[in-house]
Symmetry: C2
Subunit: 423 residues, 2 copies
C-alpha cells in the first residue's frame, strides 16, 4: 500500500460543489489502496476577503495577527472537506499546520518550514483515516505562534509532508492540466509536458512559469519527492516533475523543456556612474539593504571620453518605488547623474538541460527573435537557460516565434485543454 500526498488549490474547493467533487477524487485514491494525505488551500476568494477585512481595521496589517487571521481560511476548507469525505462513508480527520507538525521559523507572513513532525498524521493514517491538512501554515519553533508560508505555501506544505512521510508521490491538483511548453494563453500550440526534470522546472519557475513555485520545486528536489501536477477537473495524466522519468515510462529528455515569459519586472538604469572599482558594489549594497531581490544586471561599456558608465538591472515592479527611493537617498554616497525607471519590459526565457550539449541553441534563439523583429535589451544565461529582456509589447510574438523555432508546437491548433472543464 502506497502513501500519496494530494494538494488541492483554492479554485478546486471554491464552493460546496467543488469540495464534494474533490472529496470523491480523494475517496477514489483511498479505494485504490493508498494511504492518503490531503493538503488543502482556502476556498476560492476567502484569503482575499480576509485581507480586505484586515485592511478595513488597520492600514498596514502584518505580522503575527495577520497570520492568525489568514489561517482561518484553510481551517474552513479542511473541515468542510473532511465532512464531505465522511459523508461518502470514509473516515477523515482534519489537522491544522500546527497539529500536523509543520514547524517553521518566526518570520510571519513568509515563514520557512524548518522541520515536519507528522506524528498525529501517521496515527490518523494507521487508524484508517484520510488525513486532511491545512496548507500554507505552520507553528513557529520558538514562540509557538501560528505562521503562514507566503505565496504558494500550500504546495510547499504538500511537498514537505510528502518528504516527512516518505510518500511515493506528491500530487498537485490545480485548474490547469499540467506544465506546458509555454503559457497556452499566449501560445495556442503549447504542449503539455509529460515529464520534466527538477532542474528544468526550477529554471521555468524562476523565469515566470506560475504552475509551480520555485520554493516548492526546490524542496522536492532536495528530498527527491516526485511531483505530479494535474487538473482537479479531469482524470488526465498531468506533468511529472522528478529527478528521473517515473516507472516504466520511457520519456526522452527534451533538448528544450519550454519557453517562459514574465512581464512582472521593471528595469532601473543608473545613469552616469563613475567607471571605477566599488561603484557597482555601492549600488547593489544599497538595493540589498532595502531587502529587494534583483534579477538581471548589465553594465554598459564605459564611454572613454567621460569615464562614466550606466548600470541597468531588473526587479519586480512591486519593488520599483522602494528601490528608487533607496538609491535617491544614497545618491551622494554612490555618485550618479540620474535614474531611469522602465516598467514596459518583458523577459523571455528558453529552458532546457539539452542546451549544455547543443551549442547551436543560443544562436537559434537569437535568430528566431531577430526573424520576428524583436529587439533585445538585456541578456542573461545559466547553464540550462537563456533569458532576454525586450519591450513588453513584443513578448507574445517573441514567445510564439521561439516556441515554433525549437519545434515545440503541437500538431493541431488549440489541441491543448487549458483551464480544465471550462472554469
Amino acid at each position: 500500500m502506497g502513501l500519496v500526498v494530494q494538494k488541492y488549490g483554492g479554485s478546486s474547493v471554491a464552493d460546496a460543489e467543488g469540495i464534494k467533487r474533490v472529496a470523491k477524487r480523494i475517496v477514489e485514491a483511498k479505494k485504490n489502496g493508498n494511504q492518503v494525505v490531503v493538503v488543502v488551500s482556502a476556498m476560492g476568494d476567502t484569503t482575499d476577503e480576509l485581507i480586505d477585512l484586515a485592511e478595513q481595521v488597520s492600514p498596514m496589517p502584518a505580522g503575527r495577527e495577520f497570520d492568525m487571521l489568514l489561517t482561518a481560511g484553510e481551517r474552513i476548507s479542511m473541515a468542510l472537506l473532511a465532512m464531505a469525505i465522511k459523508n461518502l462513508g470514509h473516515e477523515a480527520q482534519s489537522f491544522t499546520g500546527s497539529q500536523a507538525g509543520v514547524i517553521t521559523d518566526s518570520v510571519h507572513n513568509k515563514a520557512r518550514i524548518i522541520d515536519v513532525t507528522p506524528g498525529r498524521i501517521r496515527t490518523a493514517l494507521d487508524e484508517g483515516n484520510i488525513a486532511i491538512v491545512a496548507g500554507f501554515q505552520g507553528v513557529s519553533q520558538d514562540k509557538k505562534d501560528i505562521t503562514t508560508l507566503g505565496r504558494g505555501g500550500s504546495d510547499t506544505t504538500a511537498v514537505a509532508l510528502a518528504a516527512a512521510l516518505d510518500a511515493e508521490v506528491c500530487e498537485i491538483y490545480t485548474d490547469v492540466d499540467g506544465v506546458f511548453t509555454a503559457d497556452p494563453r499566449v501560445v495556442k500550440k503549447a504542449k503539455k509536458i509529460e515529464w520534466i526534470s527538477f532542474e528544468d522546472m526550477l529554471e521555468l519557475a524562476a523565469s515566470g512559469s506560475k504552475v509551480l513555485l520555485h520554493r516548492c520545486v526546490e524542496y522536492a528536489r532536495r528530498y527527491n519527492i516526485p511531483i505530479h501536477v494535474r487538473s482537479s477537473f479531469s482524470g488526465l495524466q498531468g506533468t511529472w516533475v522528478s529527478s528521473e522519468p517515473i516507472g516504466d515510462k520511457k520519456v526522452e529528455q527534451a533538448i528544450i523543456s519550454g519557453v517562459a515569459h514574465d512581464t512582472s519586472e521593471a528595469k532601473i538604469t543608473v545613469v552616469g556612474v563613475p567607471d571605477k572599482p566599488g561603484e557597482a558594489a555601492a549600488i547593489f549594497r544599497t538595493i540589498a539593504d532595502a531587502e529587494i531581490n534583483i534579477d538581471m544586471v548589465v553594465q554598459n561599456v564605459s564611454a572613454a571620453s567621460t569615464g562614466l558608465t550606466d548600470i541597468s538591472f531588473t526587479l519586480p515592479k512591486t519593488e520599483g518605488r522602494k528601490a528608487i527611493d533607496a538609491l535617491e537617498k544614497n545618491r551622494s554616497g554612490i555618485g550618479f547623474d540620474s535614474l531611469r525607471y522602465d516598467d514596459q519590459i518583458g523577459k523571455i526565457s528558453l529552458v532546457g538541460a539539452g542546451m549544455k550539449t547543443n551549442p547551436g541553441v543560443t544562436a537559434a534563439f537569437f535568430e528566431a527573435l531577430s526573424n520576428a523583429g524583436v529587439n533585445i535589451e538585456l541578456i542573461s544565461t545559466s547553464e540550462i537557460r537563456i533569458s532576454v529582456v525586450t519591450r513588453a509589447d513584443d513578448v507574445p510574438e517573441a514567445v510564439r516565434a521561439v516556441h515554433t523555432a525549437f519545434g515545440l508546437d503541437s500538431d493541431s491548433d488549440e489541441a491543448v485543454v487549458y483551464g480544465g472543464t471550462g472554469r
Copy 2:
C-alpha cells in the same frame, strides 16, 4: 493595577466599524491602568454562514470536524480585533482557546471546560500586551482536538478565564443595557436591575431570561467572579451580578428581582397511566434514556373508578418529536392509553430571594394572574421562584400584570433603552 476580563458578542463586532469601536473601548480600559483580557465571539453571522456551508457538503454535520470549522469564526474576529488595537498604538496578541489554555472534555459541539491553564495569557499581560482570546472554544484534554462549548460558550470562556486569572470583574458586553426586571419588548416599563445575586440570576436564566446563560452564571458563582453585564454601544453602567453588592454601592436586595417568561417549551400529557408505583419512573426513565431534559412535572389525582391517571410534563419544543417517539416505542413497557402534545403553552416565573421571608408573595402572584383573566395549567416552585404554565397567547398580558402587581414598573413609559444604539 486590576485585571479585567471583557467579553464582546458577535453583534458588537459584526463589521469593521464595530471592531474599531470595540478596540477603542478596550484601549480605554487599558489606559485606566488595568491589565485587560478580551474574549470575543465570531463576527455577526459568521457562525451561521459556516453552518450553512457545512450543511451543503454533509446532511448532518457534527463532531470533531464541525468544531474545527466553527472555531474559524473567532479566529477571524480575534485577529482583526488585535490588529485594530495595534492600530491605536497599543500592543495586543490574540490566542485561540487552545493557546489560552482552555482545556475541555471531548464532547464535541458542547464541551465542558475542565481546566484553564492561562500561562501564555499571563506572559502576554506581563509583557504589557492586551490579550485577545477566542471565545466558545477549547482543546480536549485527552485527544488534543479542538472543541466548542455550545450556545453561550463565549460568556463561559470569559468567566472561566476571569476565575483562572483571579480577575476583579468579568464584563459581558452585549447589545442590551443589562438585565431587566422583565423582557422590555413585552413590558415597556421594565427597569434595568442595578445589582442581582447569583442565585436570583440563576433562576432568571433558568426561567427564560436570555441575557446570561445558566452555565455561565453557575461558573461565576462557584468561583465568586462578579459579572458586569453592559452595553457595548453606550458608556452606561449595566447590571452587576455577584454574591454581594460591589464596593460602596448600598443596593438593597429587592424582594422580587424580576419576571421571566419562556415560550420555547411544549407540554406532553401521558393519558391513562395505571396509578401504581413505578409508572412515573418508567415514563421518566424512557425520557432520560433519550437524553431529553424535562422541566415541570404534574400528576393528576387518580380517578377512583378507573384506577388510571394522567401525567404531564414540559420540555423544549425542539425535543418534542424525540420524546413522543421514545414513549411510543416503549408504550407496552410503560402502559398508557394515549399521548397528547401541546406546543401552545408559555411559562411565567417570578424570581426573588425575598419570597423566602415574605409569605404573601405566592398569593399576590396568583391574584395578579387571576385579575388579568389568565388561566393556570401547571405550577412549580423553588425557594426563590414560582412558575406557572399558561396558554402561550396569555403570556404578554400575564407578564405585564405580574410586573405591575409587584411594583416593578418604572415611573416613566419606555424610559428604558433596549437594544443600545438601535441595532
